[in-house]
Assembly symmetry: C2
Homo-oligomer: 147 residues x 2
């Protein structure tokens, strides 16, 4: 297991342990994690802090040059909001844990020149399968789908 | 002046008075403002709280049904991140103060069925023109452009 995806999964597990949505993310620049986070919908009553957004927020403010040589790891295929954030900052590469349980905007990202690699990692899939089975209403809220 | 765009401009002015980036937004559901906010990059060291994101965050958690009958007002054409958030939640209509100083993802929004109306409001344009002239490096940081 790649150490950075392992860190993203650790974030996802922490979110699950907190009663939250188990999606984690890390941002890596020059071989080091500069931001990490997980979905905070439950924990902070947040409508915007998906895993990727939380990692971006925790990374803090950076000039464009930092993002443009970074890679973002996320346990789940990025939704339109998180994909939009990736495009805003020009992050050139996304490593996705899985897209079996949710297919995000991977094609849109690729159409704008972002490299998207999908690992279809069993741990990521199992975490989401369990969560969606346990809390379908919470999952629907997080992706803007009617209950 | 539409009362909701006036509220978004009030948010933008408040952001400017705080030394921040003067972009404001409100979300309106059933004729009432359910969330309002402004860019918090400077004030909170935030990489994700653009005006629209701050309004979404301040609106709190809602089921999909609320967003799907809402309108979002923003003083500036929404960037890819904010446009992605609008798509995530299925907000069907966006009222934009202006797109002279920055053209966001209006065509992408329209291609996904979102109604986008642009007012080209002089107050919005003047606020952004002044800010960009005064703080070009901060503006570039906010839109992920090299300094």
């Amino acid at each position: 297991m790649d150490e950075f995806m392992a860190a993203a999964i650790e974030e996802a597990r922490q979110g699950y342990a907190e009663g939250g949505i188990p999606i984690g993310s890390v941002i890596v620049c020059d071989g080091k994690i500069i931001g990490r986070g997980h979905n905070r919908r439950v924990q902070q009553g947040s409508a915007t802090l998906h895993g990727e957004m939380d990692a971006l927020e925790n990374a803090g403010r950076h000039p464009a040059e930092v993002y443009r040589r970074s890679v973002i790891y996320t346990t789940l295929s990025p939704c339109s909001m998180c994909s939009g954030a990736i495009l805003l900052y020009g992050i050139p590469k996304v490593i996705v844990g899985e897209n079996h349980t949710f297919m995000g905007e991977e094609e849109h990202l690729r159409s704008r020149g972002v490299a998207v690699e999908v690992l279809q990692d069993d741990t990521c899939i199992e975490l989401m399968r369990r969560f969606i089975a346990e809390r379908p209403e919470l999952w629907n809220e997080d992706i803007g789908e009617p209950a």
